[in-house]
């Protein structure tokens, strides 16, 4: 659950009681009247998150902001805005997401993702552009990622994507294209260089383990897991995968490994 601070308030523009329940994880300020819209504008800033399922309230907000400058945060519209409203929205909010039906996650899941610490790594919705053959996806931090249709190759069992049946599901972990389901992280890894670098950094950190060092050294020496005499390939695999605490290895086991790899036991972890 997010912490409600003076710098990151959420405003829910809605007249529907169930919307308040759905978006409760975000602890929003509920705005259900035109009068209230004018009042909350004074409390908003460029970190605010606005969610609206009520077009008249959004229009009132845009009108109230018309004479003001700067960004008023980010906006999620749970309906399809008029084309003419999009430039106005873009002027006042640095990120705008909109959609209805399957173009966005169901409201309860949407709220869960928007409140999640890993929201930037999950998708909340998107739009298919059949003309340019691209799919633009919105992440939980409302940033966009555009990928070509070719990002979704048929799988070995013959499942092909149906771009007319786009939906986001599984709390943003999955892009559904009919019977075809793509994992969000596979798309982010392929099309977002910053995400890829972060994951690579995290993996490198994990690669500093004793098991990873042993694996690197073994491959460097061209030795197979089955080549450690009385130690089975399975045992070597378990050590490399970190399933065996290196501090609990018997000196004799460590000695066999070190001898086969022609290093001192204490040097293995340095590789």
């Amino acid at each position: 659950m997010t912490t409600k601070t003076a710098t990151s308030r959420t405003f829910l523009l809605s007249k529907r009681r169930h919307s308040v329940r759905w978006f409760a994880p975000l602890q929003p300020e509920h705005v259900s009247s035109i009068q209230r819209v004018h009042e909350v504008v004074a409390q908003a800033n460029n970190h605010s998150l606005w969610i609206s399922d009520e077009k008249p309230l959004t229009d009132t907000l845009l009108h109230a902001l018309a004479s003001r400058t700067g960004s008023w945060g980010t906006m999620v519209l749970l309906y399809q805005p008029a084309l003419a409203s999009i430039p106005v929205l873009s002027r006042h909010f640095h990120r705008v997401v909109f959609g209805s039906g399957k173009g966005l996650l169901p409201p309860a899941e949407l709220a869960e993702v928007l409140a999640a610490p890993n929201k930037a790594d999950l998708f909340i919705g998107g739009m298919v552009d059949a003309d340019s053959k691209t799919l633009t996806l919105w992440r939980g931090d409302l940033a966009t990622l555009t990928v070509p249709f070719t990002a979704f190759p048929p799988s070995g069992d013959g499942i092909t994507p149906d771009f007319s049946a786009f939906a986001v599901s599984d709390c943003g972990h999955t892009i559904r294209l009919g019977a075809y389901e793509a994992a969000t992280e596979a798309l982010l890894y392929e099309y977002d260089p910053l995400y890829r670098r972060r994951i690579a950094r995290e993996r490198r950190k994990e690669e500093r383990s004793f098991g990873a060092a042993l694996r690197r050294l073994r491959k460097q020496r061209g030795v197979r897991r089955a080549d450690f005499g009385s130690l089975s390939a399975k045992t070597i695999a378990r050590i490399e995968q970190g399933k065996v605490d290196p501090d609990h290895l018997r000196p004799s086991t460590l000695g066999i490994i070190a001898k086969r790899l022609a290093v001192e036991p204490s040097d293995i972890k340095t590789y």
Binding site: L122, S155, I159, C171, A186
Partner: protein, 92 residues
């Protein structure tokens, strides 16, 4: 269509899902374990979880036992989906 392991009602109600999805040909063979905004990947070659976060201990023992009980089936499903990256491919 993704492969989804059938789970007992109490695990489904707790929002657990176990899937093999499309578009994962570049990853080591694995199943995805999903619950809400959390996701774990379990390597079908090694039986080890591929990510340190979220905390592996959050996954109920019954769910892991169910996956183990269907291991062969899950491996077959992976191989059908990714014939160029089979489970029996060498980890070495």
């Amino acid at each position: 269509m993704p492969v989804e392991l059938k789970l007992p009602v109490y695990l489904r109600r707790a929002r657990w899902k176990v899937k093999i999805q499309e578009k994962e040909s570049r990853e080591p063979p694995h199943v995805s374990i999903l619950r809400g905004t959390d996701k774990w990947r379990l390597n079908l070659r090694t039986g080890a979880l591929m990510d340190r976060r979220p905390t592996p201990s959050d996954i109920p023992r019954e769910l892991l036992d169910l996956i183990k009980g269907n291991w062969r089936w899950l491996c077959e499903q992976w191989d059908a989906k990714y014939p160029d990256n089979p489970v029996e491919g060498s980890e070495e």
